[in-house]
């Protein structure tokens, strides 16, 4: 028989696996598939340990379907860039997923913000509407960006955002998170208008994460659902490059200048200079350090 010892010894409340079955949060995975549960149902089981209602599961599937593909964003660009070196496909996908950080994609910050202020509303005896106003005032007066607003490419409004809100409400799933998010949007818009500034519309993180929160997903789980879902798209963009692009992306035979063509480099660093000889090295290095000009280039 093939050796099948566990790789690490640790407690887990997610799953176990025997020769006979894989059990996730108490349910036999194969039985779930056999009985007609969907992948999105099982994502609820994975992250929440519960079977969702049909409507909840449908909402998750639609949200993820809409979030999955976003053409050229940092994630797709990273996957393609990695694919130019022709490592195995998983490296390109991993690079794409890894771009989801503080700015790109549905970080956990938005969910953390909603939960923080809902907790405060409860503790301070405020209504959701009141706490939304406080949130907007506090974020703006301290110079912080309110997560979930604005998109650098869709400058007139993220095309997925408002429809997701509409869907959220139409499916009868609007709860405290929806109420808070909508109130934040209202006060943020009012504030911007008072200051004579153009309103910054909600983005897919603002509306998508709000839906995921009302579906019972924690900020971390919601972040996982969004960023991993985009991994599918990264795989597609990378495969497209593997199959139809040029490795290295610098070919001069292509009618279009390639991503890594030499002419794509714009250098703005220190001027060209002589490499010091080994004999001069110590004196040169000391002088360079004393003069300190290098400091403006230090990263």
């Amino acid at each position: 028989m093939t050796e099948r010892m566990p790789l690490i010894q640790t407690k887990t409340s997610i799953s176990y696996k025997t020769e006979e079955k894989t059990v996730i949060r108490g349910y036999d995975l194969s039985e779930l598939a056999e009985k007609g549960y969907t992948f999105c149902d099982v994502l609820f089981i994975l992250f929440q340990g519960r079977i969702p209602t049909e409507v909840e599961s449908r909402a998750l599937s639609l949200e993820m379907g809409a979030f999955l593909e976003h053409s050229m964003s940092p994630s797709a660009a990273a996957a393609i860039a990695v694919a130019t070196g022709r490592p195995d496909l998983p490296a390109a996908i991993a690079a794409g997923i890894s771009t989801f950080g503080a700015v790109h994609g549905p970080g956990a910050n938005h969910g953390l913000m909603l939960n923080t202020y809902l907790k405060r509303a409860l503790e301070e005896g405020k209504s959701i509407d009141e706490i939304a106003k406080i949130l907007v005032d506090e974020y703006l007066s301290s110079g912080r960006r309110i997560p979930g607003f604005g998109q650098p490419q869709h400058i007139d409004g993220d095309p997925r955002a408002e429809p997701l809100h509409i869907l959220h409400e139409a499916l009868g799933l609007a709860g405290v998170y929806y109420e808070l998010q909508r109130a934040i949007e209202k006060y943020f818009k009012e504030k911007r208008e008072k200051e004579g500034k153009k309103p910054v519309p909600v983005n897919v993180v603002g509306s998508g994460n709000t839906l995921l929160s009302d579906l019972g997903f924690s900020p971390l789980a919601a972040w996982c659902l969004g960023s991993i879902c985009r991994g599918y798209s990264c795989a597609a963009h990378a495969i497209h490059h593997y199959k139809k692009g040029h490795a290295w992306a610098a070919s001069r035979r292509e009618p279009m200048v390639q991503m890594l063509d030499l002419s794509m480099i714009k250098y703005v660093g220190p001027a060209d200079r002589e490499v010091p000889s080994p004999e001069e090295r110590q004196e040169y290095a000391k002088k360079q350090k004393e003069e300190g000009e290098y400091k403006k280039w230090v990263l």
Binding site: F39, L46, A108, H154, C224, D261, L262, V275
Partner: protein, 333 residues
């Protein structure tokens, strides 16, 4: 450091005269743009394979439908979507296997979720989760069958003769007690989406059972891989989709690790001496003696080279043992 001489005089004579400076923009060709067959977006829309993704959502197309749109440029039939849904469930979780463990190890450093989940994708290599290799194997032999006029049964027997049993992807002793692979194949047949790939993996299992001494059958790699290909996904697409699907669960393993606590500090982890089987301990020689002790690796003759690489293979982690295996494999091929 002090012994390194200035060797610039060995550069080609014209090297000194080579130009500095960046290359000016190439105006003779079309400027660079991201070329994609998959999607585009403008200020107001995101369009995948011609379909507006927001409209897909509002029209009721969900995750599995969009996967068909992105990877195959088509809306799937209801049966195909159901089958993919079934497969994604089966691919989601596998207990504490490599992707989950990698994610947990990354979590131990208190890295962010996306790094841990992304790292889990790297677990999908050429044995674990080898869906690309599996698909290519099927395609190669099916193509041979077509060229040589062989039946599926005949080409399966050839495959089993040509590839050592323990190297055939998709059949193994891993799921002899687990009904999951058989259920996947049966569901594909019931939904009417089973095709030549499912037929072929079954034939491969039959052929392997005839020649093998130990019980063997279609495993999860074989069942998922063959069904995905009957659904029209390429080996690469299958590899990517299954690896990403597992990353959702890897994210949950990350979260559990974070919630249970116990982050590691740099330098904290010890490796017990009992686990060490490398060269025996010895004193570090004085630096002045290094050139008396150290021998350059350079080999001047083929005989010297052969002797050297044989010696080098004794050290795990040097890469020379791996090279020897690769060379042996190449010879077998």
């Amino acid at each position: 450091m002090g012994s390194v001489k200035d060797l610039r005089h060995l550069l080609p004579p014209e090297y000194k005269n080579r130009e500095y400076g960046t290359v000016p923009p190439d105006t003779t060709r079309e400027p660079f743009r991201w070329v994609s067959e998959i999607s585009y977006k403008n200020v107001h829309r995101i369009v995948a394979r011609g379909y507006d993704t927001t409209e897909l959502m509002m029209a009721g197309y969900g995750l599995v439908d969009v996967l068909f749109v992105v990877f195959q440029s088509r809306i799937p039939t209801i049966e195909e979507a159901k089958m993919l849904d079934y497969i994604l469930i089966m691919a989601l979780e596998d207990g504490l296997s490599s992707p989950a463990v990698i994610s947990r190890i990354v979590a131990k450093s208190n890295a962010i979720l996306t790094q841990a989940a992304a790292a889990s994708v790297l677990a999908f290599g050429h044995t674990y989760g080898a869906f690309q290799d599996f698909g290519n194997m099927l395609n190669n032999y099916l193509s041979r069958a077509e060229k040589e006029g062989k039946t599926l049964e005949e080409i399966a027997e050839i495959l089993v003769k040509e590839i050592p049993l323990d190297k055939i992807l998709g059949v193994s002793d891993l799921c002899l007690k687990d009904p999951a692979p058989k259920r996947i194949l049966r569901r594909a047949e019931d939904l009417g989406v089973a095709g030549k790939y499912i037929k072929f993996i079954k034939e491969i299992a039959k052929a392997a059972q005839k020649v093998g001494e130990k019980p063997i059958d279609v495993d999860m790699l074989g069942a998922i891989g063959a069904t995905m290909m009957d659904l029209g996904f390429s080996p690469e697409a299958t590899w990517g989709i299954i690896a990403v699907t597992r990353a959702f669960a890897a994210g949950a393993h990350y979260i559990e690790e974070v919630e249970r606590g116990g982050f590691l500090k740099y330098g904290q982890t010890l490796t017990p001496k009992e686990l060490y089987d490398g060269p025996s301990e010895k004193p570090v020689p004085p630096i002045e003696e290094r050139n008396n002790i150290a021998k350059p690796a350079v080999c001047r003759t083929l005989e010297e080279w052969k002797k050297a690489i044989t010696e080098r293979q004794k050290l795990y982690g040097s890469g020379w043992k791996a090279l020897a295996s690769q060379l042996e494999e190449n010879e077998e091929k």
